[in-house]
């Protein structure tokens, strides 16, 4: 199994566990931890992609809410200080990436014509491009 196959295998395992969590949560858990969800079913399929992606976080929040461990104060303290960090990150990273990318640019001659250098089968060469 090469690296790319391994990545896809891990992704499949992750999604499979996510599907199990999604089934359990949407059939049983959501009604226990969110009174607004009781009797509301149409929106539930919309949650499936999110659960597939972040099922460990879903399990953790489910456990916190089941045990009534949630601190309501945390719901009303938005992390606004992050704005400055993001702004500084943008101001540093974006010009840097553009400058590096620009310095790597390849300049082609105005009369450059593409040349076919290989074929899937048989010989290949500039003669093909000229033909």
């Amino acid at each position: 199994m090469n690296a790319a196959e391994s990545i896809f295998f891990v992704a499949q395992v992750w999604a499979t566990i996510g599907a199990v969590v999604a089934t359990a949560f949407l059939l049983f858990g959501i009604d226990r931890i969110d009174e607004d969800a009781r009797g509301a079913y149409i929106f539930r399929p919309l949650l499936v992609p999110g659960i597939l992606l972040i099922w460990p976080l879903v399990l953790w929040r489910w456990w916190v809410l089941e045990r009534d461990l949630d601190n309501w104060r945390n719901r009303h303290a938005p992390p606004r200080r992050a704005h400055l960090f993001i702004a500084v990150m943008f101001v540093v990273a974006i010009p840097l990436i553009i400058a590096v990318s620009w310095s790597l640019r390849q300049e082609w001659q105005a009369d450059f014509e593409p040349v076919k250098i290989s074929l899937l089968h048989g010989s290949a060469g500039q003669g093909d491009a000229a033909a």
């Binding site: 607004d36 969800a37 945390n74 938005p78 101001v91 553009i98």
Partner: protein, 350 residues
């Protein structure tokens, strides 16, 4: 807004927002696909598949650029606040445009071989040790995964379930996605792109996003909410004479907690400045009929109880208020969300 996760306020503004967005996307794609072969310098050498990939790719870049301009613009100038209203739909649409771009790329550059095309996308170029010829596709993959996560967790349920604090931290991934997109374009098509319109739009768009964010952050730092002056559990917010009927004074209590002190019918009430929905700044809203409206998405709260009017169920914490001479004091220990607090009358002559 929704009640029991059933949308009840798809009002005309929301329909208009979505209509303008969709018309804009289709108009851009139509113009790019039908018109740009004539005006782009090197389009004679690419086929329809690549041209479509470029149309959707540039569209996704522009959409993400606009999305990221909305936040700082709204912080710099409140006239841009209506653009925040339905930004999530904008984001989900951007994901679909980006996936279409990826589809064209994968089905052209990574197909036609015995290898699985998705695996080929990952191993066709592994020159991670050099900048020139760097496998820029990986930046695009990262950005699409981020956008997918944001779209998949965009339903209101997720904000309530995860709490706005965790939800926002997840959604900060959009900033890393944008940097990744800039790297994807910069190390990708910018390398041999001769079209001046493309170069100006790409570099101009990316630098505009960076400039707006630093301007908004500096303004927030310069004229942000003042810290409340603490003396024990009671903290001074402002002078009573500074309060305006129907509006709030906002002060920071501790950490990221902010209180909004309102004057309504000559009486003072205090609630959390963070809306229960997405933590929008309630203190920037105005009271109408006892209710303050969040400037971000229109959620409303009674400033005396912190409760949304029925049938809505959202609640925010309230604070005890008292006057010490002309000073408005707030008890820093917030009451649980939805707790009624008797408003304090403003002394006559204040």
């Amino acid at each position: 807004m929704s009640v029991k996760y059933i949308p009840v306020q798809w009002n005309p503004n929301k329909w208009k927002y979505n209509a303008v967005m969709l018309i804009g996307v289709f108009a851009y794609l139509w113009l790019f696909i039908e018109w740009t072969p004539a005006i782009m310098s090197n389009d004679g050498r690419i086929n329809g598949q690549i041209h479509n990939a470029r149309a959707f790719g540039s569209c996704a870049f522009l959409m993400l650029t606009v999305i990221l301009c909305i936040g700082p613009l709204a912080r710099l100038d409140k006239r841009f606040l209506p653009l925040l209203y339905n930004r999530r739909h904008f984001g989900v649409m951007t994901l679909f445009v980006a996936i279409t771009h990826a589809g064209y790329i994968i089905n052209w550059y990574f197909s036609f071989s015995a290898s699985n095309k998705y695996e080929a996308l990952l191993f066709a170029n592994t020159s991670y040790g050099q900048l020139s010829g760097f496998p820029f596709e990986v930046f695009g993959i990262f950005a699409v995964l981020c956008l997918a996560l944001l779209a998949a967790t965009s339903h209101d349920f997720w904000m309530k379930f995860l709490t706005p604090r965790i939800w926002k931290r997840i959604h900060y991934l959009v900033y890393f996605a944008y940097i990744s997109v800039v790297a994807h374009v910069g190390l990708g098509i910018l390398q041999d792109q001769q079209d001046k319109i493309f170069i100006v739009v790409f570099i101009g768009g990316a630098l505009t996003v960076a400039a707006l964010h630093i301007l908004a952050a500096l303004q927030e730092r310069r004229s942000g909410d003042p810290d409340a002056l603490s003396s024990g559990e009671w903290v001074a917010i402002c002078h009573a004479s500074e309060l305006r009927e129907g509006y709030a004074k906002v002060a920071r209590l501790s950490g990221e907690e902010r209180v909004a002190v309102f004057l309504q019918d000559g009486k003072i009430s205090a609630i959390s400045n963070a809306c229960a929905h997405q933590n929008g700044p309630l203190g920037e809203g105005r009271i109408l009929d006892c209710l303050v409206t969040c400037p971000w998405h229109g959620f409303q709260y009674d400033v005396r109880s912190g409760r949304s009017p029925a049938p809505f169920t959202e609640k925010v914490p309230t604070y005890q208020v008292k006057l010490a001479g002309d000073q408005v004091l707030v008890n820093a220990n917030a009451n649980p969300p939805g707790t009624f607090v008797e408003p304090v009358p403003l002394p006559s002559g204040a």
